[in-house]
Amino acid sequence: MPEHILDTRFGQIRYHHDAVLNFTEGLYGYETLKQFLLWEDKAYHPFKWLISLERSDFMVPVINPQLFVEGYQPQVSGLEKWKGLLVVVTIGESKQDVTANLRAPILILEESKLAKQVILADVGYSLKHPVILK
């Protein structure tokens, strides 16, 4: 299967088409960016990178929130079939400053690689939840 190559600030990344997520509505604030590579580099594990295929300088770190938030099972009506879950991570100045946006997770429909960022109605979920990994 042909591999693709992407130039990023991490250098050249080879990736397979299967690693590309299709955000039909983009991300909030970036609604025109629809195609993202979900890049996993062992060095950053368990963090991954969502890298825009359309804007080479746009990327965000992401992580599976279930790794550090117990009982995080967002219910979004109409999107019950969605399986994969990621949250956007914001890097701060220090370890204490790495936070995840639990209020607006990204849901992924594994088979078709469709992805969507949603805003949860539950005000209890923080936009800046500290990431603490055991």
Binding site: V88, V89, T90, V98, L127
Partner: protein, 84 residues
């Protein structure tokens, strides 16, 4: 911006699929009912703006130096474990 004045019980139709209805008014608060298909996101404007801001912060803090923070982040966690 299109400006329309409605009374309680009256509605505004947006496109084919979205309807807003003024349900009640109490003092300064207007209760608005929204009928829209499931795939149309409906949110209070302030939360939408906050999410946009957070996406912007997340994407602006991704220089190689920032990314190193995640590598260091992991190692510090491991160091903490080895100390305890």
């Amino acid at each position: 911006m299109l400006v329309l004045t409605r009374k309680v019980g009256e509605s505004i139709q947006i496109g084919e699929d979205v309807r807003l209805t003024v349900l009640s008014i109490q003092g300064k608060n207007v209760k608005i009912g929204i009928q829209a298909p499931r795939d149309v996101a409906v949110h209070r404007e302030e939360i939408y703006e906050k999410i946009v801001e957070e996406n912007k912060s997340a994407s602006s803090k991704t220089s190689l130096n920032d990314a190193k923070q995640l590598l260091n982040f992991k190692r510090e966690s491991q160091n903490d474990e080895s100390k305890s």
